[in-house]
Amino acid sequence: MIAFLLFLALCVGGGVITLLVRDRHAAVVATLFGMLAGLALLVAAAQTLGGDVWLLPLWQLPALGRLTLGADRLSAWFLLITALVAVPVFLFSARYLRHYAAQYRTAGAASIQLFLLASIGLTLTTRDVFGFLFTWEIMSALCYLAVNFEHLHDATPKAGLIMLVASEAGALLQLLALLLLAAHAGSTQFAAIAASAASIGPGVAWAVFALSFFGFGVKAGLFPSMGWLPRAHPVAPAPASALLSGVIVNLGIYGIVRINADLLPVAMPAAGVIVLLVGAFGAIIGILYATIETEFKRLLAHSTIENMGLVAMGIGAALIFRALNQPVFAAMALIAALLHLLNHSIAKSLLFLSAGAVDTTTGTRDLNALGGLIRKLPWLAGTCLAGCMMLAALPPTGGFASEWLLIQSLLRSAELAPVSVRLAFVVAGALMALTAGLALSAFTRLFAMAFLGMPRSPAAQNPTPLPASMRWALALLAAGCIALGLLPTYLVAGLGTVVGTLGLHGGGGALVPPFYAPGSALPGDFVSSFHALGAQLGSSFLPPPGLVLMHRGGTANPVVFAAAPAYLDLALVLGLLLLWLVVRVFTHARKLARQRAWDGGLPELKPQLTYTATGFGNPARVIFSAVVAPNAAHVEEETVARHFRAAIVRTERQPYALDRWVFGPLHGGARHIANAFAAMHHGKLNGYVAYALAALLLALGVSFWI
């Protein structure tokens, strides 16, 4: 508690001091305070996770009830994520904000970031309805200011406004949900609300669920209200973007979990199905756009939508399992979701800071204009690669463990009875698998187009060097990505206690069983069969729990799934080393000859002769054109002397899928359907691939039914 109060003091005090010092020093001062505050928050979160749960009743307000602060383990988990993101972000912004100095007052941006951090901390720790809504509004307003910092830029005010409007609409729904709860409980205190939850009628329960889920869904960037994310991100300064995607969206998830899993645990499986499917659609739409987007930050924003969708799927699965009396499965799903949230926050803030770094060194974030940066900025390329691998769910990063756990927990749906629910899981599972595949392609593309190949513009040819402080900030986060890949067993065990506070017990133990404990419930011969694989390695000297992540089922089927991310990483490193050695041994006598890349005998390979980001993403655009490219491009041919084509100018307007589907005009639908059927047989291979996929999905669904 003391650490948390220190955190608040550092943020607020730092924010004020930043405004007072000379503008030149503001960024550095804010960085100092911000990092200290982050460290304080880290300590506070760690203490709470370790068991120091505290409650601090504050003033009684007339008519609005008592203001209460407090942190339980759920809050602490979110605070932990916030702290881990905040430290490197502030380190990064010291130098980053400098390039605004000519046009703007950097002290503004710096102090806003500090105040924002404080408001986030408060939002996560208020324990009463009024305090929560109040801090939420402050947080939203500061968020708007942080995004809107570059207000002289054309696109910025509009994007900021859209974000504010969306956020306020969400806040209104949240307000209603919380008021319903408070009215029923007759108190604004969370504790009182939770205590009275059991007696809430189904109608009110549904209303609270719908209002809170779709209300908080706005901030979390969930389907269908995620349109503000890709607009707001590109215009915000990089540190603000990192906070936005690394922390702010998490608050939406926090709200959903707090209300629907803690204050009023959802008892309707259908509600969980809604969350699951909303998450799935958000994930697939997000990743589809990420696969074709060519602006670095907007691509990342779409990927945020994807990952929030994945997290929502985990939450949805947890709600369903819980409603259908499978608390262990529910705990597992929620653990996976919360672990993924952490992984995503680290990787995404890393990538947003990388985008800022690319922007400062080259002056552009257009992937079509970048390329070849790995030769001039190997540091940046290395750290960015770690982030990309994390979001593509590749070992040795943490993304692999959490996404694998998510998929595994979805597969537990096989144990459920209702067919309709299982069907929903099938659809969600297929979409998730597709999402994972597309994520791999999207982040391969991001990395390849920014860092590999030839520089496609003069700016990318001569990037300026990256300041050391920025490099360190990136390195911190990249190290985090790797560490998260090595440590998931410890985190899962910790998360077991976090979800335990929500009444979902046994998840941590089911996933990380006391494998070698003398009294282990696992059959002895089964345990010993793992010895051959070396699974017991480290059990004698490493702190428990062990390095194996597995789900312990019943006695009939003692292990449902198992993986050892740490071993996997070790094997990966050893394998690569071995490969290098073998190659070395076989080729040590050979002379290495370097020739230019084989280009088919061109006189010279020019940048315009190599793939662009648009080109790389185009197969996805063609296959999924129903979602991402509905409008036929406008093609104009310029001819001279009647027959001679001089140029083909192609412009396209591409409205965001949801603006079209949900917020766009509803008329004309019938005509579209007719046209769609006519266009089915267009003779393009890519289209047929998409049909095959759809058919597969359908067949999967039907076979499941039967």
């Binding site: 000859a593 020739q595 084989w598 005998g601």
Partner: protein, 233 residues
């Protein structure tokens, strides 16, 4: 959906006996003029025939198979064989004896040389059975097979392709054009064959050389034992 594999299996075998024997089907090769008693050397358009005392000798690299010395009053003696490639280059190391990858490079051929190379995978010759594969990337090629006299625009691509190949590598010049410029070169637009710019390890004269002549040269570059003239029926 057709069962093409089945259809293929049902097809009658039509494979040459080469390289076990030198038996040739009619029309497999145009044959070639060979050194012999005096003949009308002046009919030759490329100077491939030269009178040397009482004999007429053939510089096969220059022969463009115009058939003039085959018909007419004093014809040359023609031999219907295929084993006429030559070259001083050492064969590839032993490791390559069973399989090589070949990059075919067109340096301005007339189409016939390439067409004969197209026939190599045909069932009658089936070059894959000998472990020879035609590859698109020079990065994995062991042998560069060049056809055509090397035009001006293909000169640099030829050098680039050769440079892009890893060692050990060999160059085979296929056809009169690649051997000597043929009817085209040397001129302002063409070089006088590949040897003008690259070390050539083996030359396969002929305009165009039949598929088996090329196969024989490739086997020689691989260091494989070949049927001797006595094996011919």
């Amino acid at each position: 959906m057709r069962l093409w594999a089945l259809r293929g299996l049902r097809t009658q075998r039509d494979l040459t006996g080469f390289p076990r024997t030198l038996e040739l089907a009619p029309g497999m090769t145009p044959g070639r003029p060979v050194d012999g008693p005096a003949a009308a050397a002046d009919v030759c358009p490329t100077g491939a025939l030269r009178a040397e005392g009482a004999a007429t000798v053939v510089a096969l690299d220059h022969c463009v198979h115009c058939q003039r010395c085959r018909h007419g009053g004093q014809p040359m003696h023609w031999r219907e064989d295929i084993a006429w490639s030559h070259g001083e280059g050492a064969p590839l190391p032993r490791a390559f004896a069973h399989s090589i990858h070949v990059r075919v490079l067109d340096a301005g051929d007339c189409g016939a040389c390439l067409a004969e190379l197209q026939q190599l995978p045909a069932p009658q010759y089936s070059l894959h059975r000998l472990g020879i594969f035609i590859t698109a990337s020079p990065r994995e090629a062991d042998v560069l097979l060049v056809v055509g006299p090397v035009t001006r625009a293909m000169r640099q691509p030829l050098l680039d392709t050769y440079a892009a190949m890893p060692g050990p590598k060999r160059v085979v010049a296929v056809g009169a054009c690649a051997a000597s410029g043929g009817v085209f070169g040397p001129s302002f637009a063409c070089a006088g064959g590949v040897a003008d710019m690259l070390p050539v390890d083996r030359v396969v004269p002929g305009c165009p050389p039949p598929p088996l002549a090329v196969l024989e040269a490739l086997l020689a570059v691989m260091g494989r034992s070949l049927p001797r003239a006595e094996d011919a029926p």
